[in-house]
Structure formats: structure tokens, C-alpha cells
């Protein structure tokens, strides 16, 4: 089996500029192969602008990381499209296309791209079409079960990357649920997401952690971790494991996955190592 690669997925939350830059400063030294950069959730989050992401991309690429620029998942306005065009137009780094407008622009610019998890790739014909359009990697929908991923015929030169750690991004809306919680309208949200660097927990009326509110995005309440099912990855066609950023202990989470991938850590010992680092309850997913 070829060496499993690790990626740091796009930052899904909204952190202060200092925290964000410090996070990626540290990430430069973590044993991840690929770093995804960019705002995928909300166009109102402006502390790091497109140009900042591009500068950060150049810095991280100099340390030997593969850098991919992730596109916004829900495109609503002409200014959203303007940002998307800037992301594609830089021409140096791959783009993770998270909706089909980005696919169109990447294909037109002949820019290699990653087919992101929200493109809803469920069958070989769709994947082949994306490959012909320039996709070099695909991320299956986070609901796709292991056996279905294993059964998927993947074109040569296309890598498979699975969401392996973090709260699962489950849904997107026109409406902002964090603003709604504070009785604010989205257009005047006062950037309340900044107060919730790991999201806002939504519980059932019997206090079960169910979901996590992250602006217009809804995530799982529990933290998905493939480390808890690592043995199942044997014989799968997965090339890359995606680890989704959290504010604290991310470097140590990466370290556990690196040791698992290198065979330096026994799969049955991983949960014990990881559980202390997880902000919430673990969940071993689909």
C-alpha cells in the first residue's frame, strides 16, 4: 500500500485574524502533506481576505506543503463570484471546487482541481466527467459509507480523500443560525461566529448533543473520527485522510493520525490517545 497522505481541511469556523495566522504558522511544522486554505462557509467572514489566503498559500508552499485553495460552498451574489474568479485566476495552486460554478471556471482555466465533498459525487460516471474536466482528487460526500467508496471505480490519476476527523459538515443554508440564535439578521450578524471558535452546540430537549451551528453551516454534534475505525481502512482505496481544523490541540491530533498512517501506533491504542484531544464526543461515522 502506498503511504497514506494527511491533509488539513479548510478552516470551517471563524477565528480572529491572530488565531488564524498563528494556527497556520504552526501547521507549517505539522506532518501533513496537504493544506486546504480559504473560506468555504460565509462570505461575510472578512478578517482573512482572498489576498491573505493567497499570501498564506505562497508561504506554506515554500515549506514544501501541497496547498489547495477551497472555494465557497454556497454562491449567492455577484461578489461571491468575483471572489471565486480571483481564487481560480491565481493560476498557481489547485482549487477545491465546492459547487459546479467553480468546476466550470476551473475547467475553463484548465486548472487542476479537487472535487469537494459537496459536489455530490455518488457514481463513476459523474466522477469520470469531473476527471475529464480536470479533477485530480475527489472527496466523497461525508455520508458515503466505506463500502460504497471501496466499490467506486476511480479513474487513474484521481486520488480519493475522505473526511477523517472533525465535526461533519452536514448542511448549508441561506440563513445564518448563529445570527438567529442572537436574534440578529444575517446582514447585521455582528460576527457572532467569532465567539464560537468550535461552533455552537445544539442539544435536544433531553440534553443530547445533536448538531453544531456554525453560521450558515450545520455540523454534526459529535466529532467524527476515523482513528476509532482505523483498521477498517485496510484495503480501501483511500489515498488521503482529511483532518478538519479545531482551535486547540490540532497539532497533537495530526500527530496521532501520522503515527497511525506510518504504522507507528497500533489502531486499538488510537482512541485512548485521541479522546483527550477532542472537543466533544467521538463518533465513528458512516
Amino acid at each position: 500500500m502506498e503511504m497514506m497522505k494527511l491533509s488539513l481541511g479548510p478552516l470551517l469556523y471563524y477565528w480572529s485574524r491572530e488565531d488564524t495566522l498563528a494556527f497556520y504558522g504552526e501547521a507549517a511544522g505539522w506532518p501533513v502533506d496537504i493544506i486546504y486554505l480559504g473560506e468555504t462557509v460565509c462570505s461575510r467572514r472578512h478578517l482573512i481576505r482572498v489576498q491573505d489566503w493567497l499570501d498564506l498559500a505562497a508561504t506554506l508552499a515554500d515549506t514544501g506543503k501541497e496547498v489547495v485553495l477551497s472555494s465557497q460552498t454556497l454562491i449567492e451574489s455577484e461578489s461571491d463570484l468575483k471572489m471565486l474568479r480571483k481564487l481560480v485566476g491565481q493560476g498557481r495552486f489547485k482549487v477545491e471546487a465546492n459547487e459546479f460554478g467553480a468546476v466550470r471556471l476551473c475547467a475553463e482555466a484548465k486548472l487542476p482541481f479537487v472535487a469537494g465533498p459537496t459536489l455530490n459525487v455518488y457514481n463513476p460516471e459523474t466522477l469520470a466527467m469531473l476527471s475529464e474536466s480536470g479533477a485530480v482528487r475527489w472527496v466523497p460526500p461525508v455520508e458515503m459509507p466505506r463500502d460504497m467508496i471501496a466499490a467506486m471505480p476511480v479513474p487513474e490519476n484521481v486520488e480519493t480523500e475522505v473526511f477523517a476527523y472533525g465535526r461533519l459538515p452536514l448542511a448549508f443554508s441561506a440563513r445564518c443560525f448563529t445570527a438567529r440564535h442572537y436574534n440578529l439578521q444575517k446582514d447585521d450578524c455582528q460576527f457572532k461566529c467569532l465567539e464560537h471558535p468550535d461552533g455552537l452546540t445544539l442539544r435536544t430537549r433531553e440534553a443530547q448533543d445533536f448538531l453544531t451551528l456554525n453560521g450558515i453551516q450545520t455540523q454534526s454534534g459529535k466529532v467524527h473520527s476515523l482513528a476509532h475505525r482505523y483498521a477498517d481502512l485496510d484495503g480501501s482505496k483511500v489515498d488521503v485522510l482529511r483532518l478538519s481544523p479545531q482551535l486547540r490541540h490540532m497539532g497533537r491530533v495530526v500527530e496521532v493520525f501520522r503515527q497511525l498512517a506510518d504504522g507507528a501506533l497500533n489502531a486499538k491504542d488510537a482512541p485512548g490517545r485521541l479522546d483527550r484531544l477532542i472537543p466533544g464526543q467521538p463518533y465513528d461515522g458512516y
Binding site: L74, R104, P124, E143, A171, L202, R203, T218
Partner: protein, 337 residues
């Protein structure tokens, strides 16, 4: 120069009687699906088999109306042939268009039935003209149904920048999430609209009278609890009451439904090709009432958009069948966001 706007009325047909009700009360077209997970209203007791489909097509087309067949879930490797067979069957029986979400299935339709008219389903989640034009260029889609996330000026921007016709939801149940971008039901009970064709499916639902009130659960997860004086609703999981930082409220969306009657003149002016009425799970009587009101409203707008006014009788008729539920303009009216 834009072509003359169509402003067709497209109504739901969950059964042959509902199809006939829609046609008889003035729908320009109906949309329907087969009795399986090839479409996004996979509920037991709903939808069409080959015989009822053939009869439905005959009935509608004899009166000059269109039949649009939804095949708008995402086929998976093991069962791909079922979706292909459904596209073949739709063509053989002579539907006017198929409504698809999956690009792979569009490629199949193009290859096998080059003359078959394709509409991009709302489940395809295309919210910009760049996305709509992707499907237009690659697969020749003739129409796109937009997710219920754009304000009307944003809809206008899409219409101005694509040759595809644009269809909008006008009335009925409202997804608060972007269609095709929601895995909440999958997370809660393993079945998602994308693959299974239903959200919060009936088999996962439990109603239970307890000391604390009527509880509704989805796969064991408490979605809501109702006091004795409250009317218990179906546990669609985004419309339950949950607790966030000590507040218990409708954290995602109140159980409201969409009604855009008052926006019709603006939709007409923008060149919207069709208004879609949600509700394939509804009764023929419901479909008849809603179709009748919307037919009258669209006719009034086409006659004179400047003097159009929503008739109180229309609201009364719609309120009666929506069981007094609240209405919203959704994302078309920006402050809703």
C-alpha cells in the same frame, strides 16, 4: 432581447388523482416520480408505476399540458441501472422533460436519448449562473430550478446571465437548507434525500404521549415535545425545537411554509419561466385548491401586472388548506436570512 416570459404553473402530482386535479384546475405542467428512490419524494403510497404513468401522460397531454418526471436523486454504483431504466422508460412513454440532479445521469440521457429535454433539479444545488451554465454547456439543460436561497435581485442576476429558463418555488413546504446540500436526515437516521429520496422518513418516526407531553422522535432523537394545548407536528428534523446555550426554540426554522403570491408581478417582470408548487405528498383536494388559486393569480398578472393585487379570497382558500400554518416569503425577501 429576452424571450417572452412563460410564467408556467407547475404543480405536484403524487398520484394519478392528484395529476388529474392539477390538470383540471389549470396547471400548465405537472411533475411526478416513480414509486422508488429514483426521486426525492420516496414515500410509501405515493408516486407512479408504469401503468398510472402512461395514463397520467395521456390525460395531461390530451389537454395540452406537460408532464415532467423527477429523477432527481443521486444514483449509486450498485443501482445505477435502475436510474438508467427510468430515463429510458420516461422517454418511451413520452414525458415532456426529465428533472435530473446528477451529471452522470445527464450524460447518460444525452448519449442515449439526445432529444430528451432536461431540467436541472433543485437537488442539483445550482445557485449561480456559473453553475447553471455548467449544466447548460455540458448537458444542454433547458431549465434550472433554483434552490430556495436567493433573494429576488439575486434571482434576476442569474436570469440575466444564462440562456436556461429559470423555475422558482412559489408555494408549499420550505426547506431551510440548500436543497442537495443537506445530510441532516442521513446523519440522524441513515437515509438522506440525496440517495434515499426522503427526508425524515416515516419509518424512523415515533409519536409518544408522555408525562411531559406528546414527544416526536426521529430514530430515537427527540425532535420536539408538545404541551397539551399545542398541535403536534410531523418531526421534520430542521423544524423541531432544540436547546442552544440554555434557550429552547426553533433553532433552525419554524414550521412555516412558503407563499410568494405577492411577489408574482416581480417574478413575471424578471422573466421567471415557471412557478413550482411544492407538495407531491399532498392530497388531490389540496392540489386542486392550490392550483386553482395560482392559476387565477398568474392569469391576473399576465393580464395586467401593474394592477395585480392579491385577492383576499386567494389567501383565505390557501390558509384553509395549509391548516392555519404561518407563511413566509423565504429567502426571496432578504431579511428572512
Amino acid at each position: 432581447m429576452l424571450p417572452e416570459p412563460l410564467l408556467e404553473l407547475i404543480c405536484p402530482a403524487g398520484s394519478l388523482p392528484a395529476l388529474k386535479a392539477a390538470v383540471d384546475h389549470g396547471a400548465d405542467g405537472v411533475y411526478l416520480g416513480l414509486k422508488d428512490n429514483t426521486n426525492a419524494r420516496n414515500f410509501s403510497g405515493l408516486n407512479f408505476d408504469e401503468k398510472s404513468l402512461a395514463e397520467g401522460i395521456r390525460y395531461a397531454q390530451a389537454k395540452g399540458r406537460k408532464v415532467l418526471m423527477a429523477l432527481n436523486t443521486y444514483p449509486q454504483p450498485a443501482t445505477l441501472s435502475r436510474w438508467h431504466a427510468a430515463v429510458d422508460k420516461a422517454t418511451e412513454l413520452g414525458v415532456d422533460a426529465v428533472i435530473l440532479a446528477d451529471p452522470g445521469l445527464m450524460a447518460y440521457a444525452n448519449r442515449t436519448h439526445p432529444d430528451l429535454r432536461l431540467h436541472l433539479s433543485v437537488q442539483g444545488s445550482a445557485t449561480s449562473y456559473e453553475a447553471v451554465n455548467f449544466y447548460r454547456e455540458r448537458f444542454g439543460i433547458r431549465r434550472a430550478v433554483l434552490p430556495r436561497v436567493l433573494s429576488l435581485p439575486q434571482v434576476e442576476n442569474v436570469i440575466r446571465n444564462t440562456e436556461a429558463e429559470i423555475e422558482l418555488f412559489g408555494f408549499g413546504g420550505l426547506c431551510v437548507m440548500v436543497e442537495g446540500r443537506c445530510l441532516l436526515s442521513s446523519y440522524a437516521c441513515g437515509d438522506s434525500p440525496n440517495t434515499f429520496g426522503a427526508c425524515s422518513p416515516g419509518h424512523a418516526v415515533r409519536w409518544q404521549q408522555t408525562d411531559k407531553g406528546m414527544e416526536t422522535r426521529l430514530n430515537g432523537i427527540l425532535i420536539d415535545r408538545y404541551a397539551d394545548n399545542e398541535k403536534a407536528g410531523y418531526p421534520t428534523l430542521c423544524k423541531g425545537r432544540f436547546e442552544v446555550q440554555g434557550d429552547t426554540y426553533y433553532a433552525l426554522e419554524e414550521p412555516t411554509s412558503l407563499n410568494t403570491l405577492e411577489m408574482l408581478p416581480e417574478m413575471h417582470r424578471l422573466g421567471v419561466a415557471a412557478i413550482k408548487i411544492e407538495g407531491r405528498q399532498r392530497s388531490p383536494a389540496y392540489v386542486a385548491q392550490v392550483t386553482q388559486v395560482w392559476r387565477a393569480a398568474i392569469d391576473a398578472v399576465k393580464k395586467s401586472a401593474a394592477t395585480f393585487a392579491v385577492q383576499p379570497a386567494w389567501h383565505a382558500q390557501l390558509d384553509k388548506i395549509s391548516e392555519g400554518s404561518m407563511h413566509t416569503l423565504g429567502a426571496y425577501y432578504r431579511p428572512w436570512k
